[in-house]
């Protein structure tokens, strides 16, 4: 059975979704990702959907679930590369994916992750003082 590969990029993990998703694949991804976050002590996850020509409520829920699971494991998720037609359709469908951070592409996504981590480090240091 095929799986969606997870790449390690420094302290972050990158998941590129390119295939038509069905629920077995989605569940497998959630499982693989949570394990990978734990194993690597990853602080951030990038989900790249720039190759997806369609995102329905099932995939939307999967993304929201991944974001939630990552958060519990103290990692932040950024969704990148949503195509314009997909964004327009999702909005019309009534899905706005609140609570999921977004960025235009992988590069911006990583910048956002680094910024957020730096900020939380500052908070931690502030409290220490």
């Amino acid at each position: 059975m095929d799986r969606i590969p997870i790449l390690k990029m420094g302290e972050f993990l990158l998941v590129t979704i390119q295939v038509d998703m069905h629920d077995q694949l989605a569940l497998q991804l959630q499982d693989d990702l949570t394990r990978a976050i734990d194993r690597n002590g990853a602080k951030g996850v990038l989900i790249d959907i720039s190759a997806l020509g369609m995102v329905d409520s099932f995939i939307g829920r999967m993304i929201a679930d991944i974001s939630g699971m990552a958060r519990i494991l103290d990692a932040k998720t950024v969704l990148v590369g949503m195509q314009p037609a997909v964004a327009i359709t999702l909005v019309e469908l009534g899905l706005s994916l609140p609570g999921v951070a977004t960025a235009l592409n992988v590069e911006r996504g990583m910048r956002l992750l680094r910024q957020t981590l730096a900020e939380s480090d500052d908070d931690a240091n502030f409290i220490k003082r």
């Binding site: 069905h22 369609m54 939307g60 037609a85 327009i88 359709t89 019309e92 469908l93 009534g94």
Partner: protein, 134 residues
């Protein structure tokens, strides 16, 4: 109005949903839909196909490519012999901002198409017909 071609696909498992989506994509491209309209139709089909499988216990997708003079369209019918939807009116009023992903998502799907019709009888089954025109 004429049907230039039509056919049927099974919706018995997840793989069928993937195949159904791909078929709908091809058909919308063939009818010359804009990219946004293609995406809307494919997404609506994905939602309804999933409903047919998960709530209806499996069923069929019937498709028909339409033409009305110079206008081109696509009509899809999702049918199952499942438990049916009790309280159809309630299911159709989940509002715009309830993106929690729960429920059948029918009002959202309705916004993606030009024509939407649903017929459901408890204990008999459900049929949803959608259509989009270029």
């Amino acid at each position: 109005m004429q049907t230039s071609s039509s056919g049927e696909l099974p919706l018995g498992n997840e793989h069928d949903i993937v195949l159904g989506r791909q078929a709908v994509r091809r058909m919308t491209q063939q009818q010359g839909f804009s990219l946004v309209d293609q995406t809307k139709m494919v997404t609506a089909a994905s939602e309804l196909a999933r409903n047919t499988l998960i709530y209806g216990g499996g069923g069929t997708l019937k498709w028909a490519m339409l033409s009305d003079g110079a206008k081109r369209g696509l009509r899809l019918t999702f049918e199952d012999k499942g438990p049916g939807i009790p309280n159809l009116e309630l299911a159709m009023t989940d509002g715009w901002s309830s993106g929690s992903g729960l429920g059948l998502g029918l009002t959202g799907t309705r916004r993606l198409v030009n024509e939407f019709e649903i017929d459901s009888t408890v204990g008999v089954g459900t049929r949803v017909v959608i259509a989009r025109w270029k």
